[in-house]
């Protein structure tokens, strides 16, 4: 490790705050805390591009809140007014089209980045001790984001909003025992109208801010346990880590700009890739669209839902595919974290990614004909990997030798 880094480390132990900064910091140590967590914070030196998505997700969340607040100021959550108020935002509100484009692109890319972030955790074993709570808060966040995305998609009150809501409320109603009560709590009346829309508008808004709170816990957890890294070997010496600033500030910045370019390209030039045109037709309870289909990020779960013959069974499978991830830290008992050193599991996990994509494709094709068989096989594989393969293989697998340290893995022993 080079000498300047060590200088920075020693300097940080006695922060020389004077004047107003010192006055504030003696009463509320926000300045020294920021310095400790975002400047001097030690991070493994070998993080790759997959570790960019945390910063990316934080920024997209900020963008969603900022654009969402201004959209909400111009939105009317009623059966008769919702669709036209969104049209007015796009057409008559100055800059409204840009605001809405940001919010829509943001929602899609938020989910995309979330799935990539989740995959990073799966691949490099970031869910293992001592990061179980980091993993669990992350999964809670994902569920909250999904619920928020669903509630948000209802708000324009187009055909897909209405009929998507119809499918989901009826699926909830199919839960034995409590189903009808739950359905009534969601809809608020015997039809999907003003009460339902108002409830989900408030839910969308409230969840968005709750997410910020859970993100706080998620980030706090990573600052306690430290980042995992591609080798999965914990840092042992100062040589294995670098300070967050400037090393990862400069690296995250490059990732953020690249992500912003994808964001801008989609938003300004290919918005149709993310838009379901049917949702520009106002909700019409009398006219069922030929093709009811959720947004792409829900398609894998939609595929699972449809591959099970019973409605309730489908709901269990779709919910179970997410819930099984909560048990992952205790299902996978291998002491080796990173899939780099677990050749067998690495192939198995790639299979999970393929199964996820097959399920999405099957959901797209309403699990009809050959897609039904494909969806069932993929669903079986998905659950088989987590519930059977991982617990068994972690006892018997032959792992590759681990490097003695992170620095050694980079030839800097």
């Amino acid at each position: 490790m080079s000498i300047p880094d060590q200088k920075q480390t020693s300097a940080s132990s006695t922060p020389p705050y004077s004047g107003l900064a010192g006055w504030i910091n003696r009463r509320l140590p926000v300045i020294s805390a920021f310095r400790a967590e975002y400047v001097d914070f030690r991070v493994p030196r070998n993080l790759n591009g997959w570790w960019n998505f945390g910063a990316i997700l934080t920024l997209v969340l900020g963008l969603m809140l900022a654009s969402g607040v201004f959209l909400a100021m111009n939105y009317t959550p009623t059966d008769a007014g919702a669709f036209l108020s969104v049209e007015a935002i796009e057409r008559q509100l100055s800059g409204g089209w840009l605001l809405r484009a940001m919010h829509m692109t943001g929602a899609n890319l938020f989910l995309a980045a979330l799935y990539l972030h989740l995959f990073r955790g799966l691949y490099y074993g970031s869910y293992k001790a001592p990061r179980e709570l980091l993993w669990l808060t992350g999964l809670v966040l994902m569920l909250m984001v999904m619920a928020t995305a669903f509630a948000g998609y209802l708000l324009p009150w187009g055909q897909m909003s209405y009929w998507g809501a119809d499918v989901i409320t009826k699926a909830v109603g199919a839960i034995p025992g409590i189903g009808p009560t739950l359905e009534h709590i969601m809809t608020g009346s015997d039809h999907l109208g003003d009460i339902f829309l108002h409830r989900f508008f408030v839910l969308h808004f409230v969840l968005a801010f709750l997410i910020v709170g859970v993100v706080g816990m998620h980030v706090a957890a990573v600052h306690v346990s430290g980042s995992n890294n591609p080798t999965g070997v914990e840092p042992r010496t100062p040589k294995d880590t670098v300070p967050f600033y400037p090393y990862y500030v400069s690296k995250d910045l490059v990732g953020l700009i690249l992500f912003a370019m994808v964001f801008a390209a989609l938003m300004f030039f290919w918005p149709n890739m993310l838009i379901e045109p049917d949702n520009y037709t106002p909700a019409d309870p009398m006219h069922t669209p030929a093709d009811i289909e959720p947004e792409w990020y829900f398609l894998p779960f939609y595929g699972l839902l449809q591959s099970v013959p019973s409605k309730f069974g489908g709901l269990v499978a779709a919910a179970g595919s997410l819930l099984v991830l909560f048990a992952l830290p205790w299902l996978d008992r291998s002491p080796v974290r990173s899939m780099r050193f677990r050749p067998l599991c690495r192939i198995g996990l790639l299979g999970v990614v393929c199964a996820f994509i097959v399920l999405a494709d099957a959901g797209k094709h309403h699990a009809q004909g050959g897609w039904l068989i494909a969806a069932r096989l993929a669903g079986l594989y998905y659950f088989g990997y987590f519930l059977v393969f991982l617990p068994l293989v972690s006892r018997t697998e032959k792992t590759r030798p681990l490097p003695s340290s992170i620095a050694a893995s980079q030839g800097d022993a």
Partner: protein
């Protein structure tokens, strides 16, 4: 190296899964050349204004476009005065009068386009059971978009082919669902006169009204493309600077590695 290939293929899988959204029509209408096509396309203002004329004189007698206000026509290049005059020429439902009866008043620029029928039920009752669809987002909603609109508007066959069934009150169109539609052929050669002297053939009118309907469904396309180019150029410069900074920082570490 291997991990990069792996990461790349995963990303590719994700991007492949995404465009699986657009629904495709059973048979694609023939492709026309449009000024607004592609990532750099912009609307032809003259065509938009001719297209509005067709809408106002032909389509608007049956189809509403209720999301638009007269002021939105600034987007096709109409002047403030022209918009005010246009709005004034329309009679809009006003407040309840002193006698308690509904009144009419001349339109204002911020009024929404006047609908030909008070509601969908009234429209359906007059139009043989089916309300003519609102045209605000028609070009975005209908499979095939602009190409379909053009093919449809030029696709009436009078007389119909010999083997087509004769249904009273229905017209034969190559591009209508089931080839039969209640809407009579809306465009006729020379039925309207363009002030710019362009010959108002059926094909020309179809092209202009299609351009106008695409604009109505996506009114900010020009602006979107323009801002997008600026944003991407800015980000590209920022990216070069960020990469240079990152390299400079990480060089310290690499030289020891």
């Amino acid at each position: 190296m291997r991990k990069h290939v792996f990461a790349g293929s995963l990303l590719a899988a994700f991007t492949l899964a995404m465009p699986a959204l657009a629904s495709t029509p059973d048979k694609a209408p023939p492709h026309q050349k449009w000024s607004f096509e592609g990532a750099t396309g912009t609307y032809d203002k003259a065509s938009l204004q001719r297209g509005f004329l067709v809408y106002d004189h032909v389509c608007a007698s049956c189809h509403g476009m209720r999301s638009l206000t007269y002021r939105d026509l600034e987007g096709i290049g109409l002047s403030d005065q022209a918009i005010t005059d246009l709005a004034h020429s329309k009679q809009i439902a006003g407040p309840v009068g002193i006698s308690g009866m509904p009144t009419m008043r001349p339109g204002l620029p911020d009024d929404h386009f006047r609908s030909p029928f008070p509601n969908d039920a009234a429209a359906a009752a007059v139009m043989g059971g089916v309300a003519p669809p609102d045209q605000s987002r028609l070009a975005a909603v209908h499979p095939g978009g602009a190409d379909w609109l053009y093919a449809f508007l030029t696709g009436y066959r009078m007389p119909p082919p010999a083997d087509a069934p004769v249904v009273p009150g229905k017209f034969y169109n190559d591009w209508a669902e089931g080839h039969m539609i209640g809407m009579p052929p809306p465009l006729m050669n020379g039925a309207i006169q363009y002030p710019d002297g362009t010959p108002a053939t059926v094909e020309q009118q179809a092209k202009d009204i299609t351009t106008f309907l695409v604009w109505a469904a996506d009114p900010h396309r020009n602006e979107r493309h323009h801002i997008g180019k600026g944003v991407l150029a800015y980000l590209a410069v920022l990216l070069v600077l960020a990469i240079a900074w990152k390299r400079k920082i990480w060089k310290n570490l690499k030289s020891h590695g």
